[in-house]
Amino acid sequence: MSWTLALEAGLAALVLGVAVWTLSVRQTFAAVVAFVVYGLALTLVWVRLSALDVALTEAAIGSGLTGVLLLGAAARLRATEADAVAERPGAGVRAAAAALAALVALALAAAVLYLPEPAHTLAPAAMAELPATGMRNAVTGVLMAYRAADTLLEKVVVLISLIGVWSLAQDKLWGGRPGLLHHADPDGALAFLARRLPPVGIVAGIYIAWLGADQPGGAFPGGTIIAAMWLLAMMAGVTDAPPISRRWLRLVLVAGPAVFLAVGFSGFFTAGAFLAYPVAYAKALIVVIEVGMVLTIAATLGLLMAGPPERSDKP
């Protein structure tokens, strides 16, 4: 057994241990903290699997944003934990659930052990056409060129989930400001961070999004960092969540899918098919789409975290 395999076995044991800890700890708050650690350990696993774009996205969205979302929910739902303890299923149900879970895990493990050799792969096909797209990062090429329709549909799905979140507001609060008003001492540490970090964070986010064309990165981690900076400013009370009825907010949210669709339809005239890019302008068109995407991702993820309107905008 080589050194790297031993270290990777240690990493796998860490992920497994943190997962078991997440499931077994009593307090939900502690379970969410364990989940954030799980996400960070998974990021290391992704790096070992040579999937750096996925590692960036997992650290930003899977561990970071999901962790903050669940922490906020756990804090608000603290009063319900006592009732939940009374509802715990009996030994019979737990045994049946364990049997089912073991069965599923065994089936998947068998699938992993009997994967076909040699492995089917699309890597040569992806690399062969990559120069025509103007990208040097194959994953960005897949996201923005080969499977651009998937990415477009994903942006629409995230937007629809935001509309779903908004629709859960009470009728009289529709059009109001999301979330509760956050008060933080304007001379305190959190307000200090919320004033110093966002400029750096916005630059870092744009940098990662721009770099995604040639190196690991892309619009998703970059937009998430910008969303996180906006959330930090909202949580420190430095800025307030905008009312969801504002037109500029809705335009920003729609900008990403709209630009994507416009470029897609223009593909009919310039290259013969929906979302086809003419080779000479491929990189320019992808950059235009990515600008819209970063803006919309930042706004949508930030608003998904802020939640449904809870304060009326009318005085």
Binding site: L16, G62, L69, T80, R94, P124, Y146, R147, Q170
Partner: protein, 114 residues
């Protein structure tokens, strides 16, 4: 046992653990947590398939990796919607339980409010 097979087995185990947690925990927020655990395991399985498809100068097949990135974002959006649903349930009924025979909450009289 290569490192790729090791991580594949890890992914299978995580799916099993997440499924167990989803079935056994009564509190909906813990169910959402377990569901995310399960999702991490599924994405790991994709990552294993991607790593095995290394070639043409790449460390892994880029198509499954792109699918995982899409999946991560959509999983977050779904989790956000689930959490807001749960918070609204708590707001309306005063408890975060999924039992169908739960006692009526404080808003039972003012059902016309929503």
């Amino acid at each position: 046992m290569t490192s790729v097979t090791l991580f594949g087995l890890l992914g299978a185990l995580l799916v099993g653990l997440g499924l167990f947690g989803l079935l056994v925990h009564p509190h909906p927020l813990r169910k959402i947590l377990s569901f995310n655990l399960l999702g991490g395991g599924v994405f790991l399985l994709f990552g294993v398939v991607a790593r095995r498809g290394a070639g043409a100068g790449l460390g892994g097949d880029p198509v499954p990796q792109a699918l995982v990135i899409t999946g991560l974002v959509v999983a977050f959006a779904a989790t956000a919607l689930a959490v807001v649903l749960l918070l609204r349930l708590f707001q309306e009924s005063g408890s975060a339980t999924l039992r169908t025979d739960a006692p009526a909450g404080k808003d039972a009289g003012g059902a016309a409010d929503h």
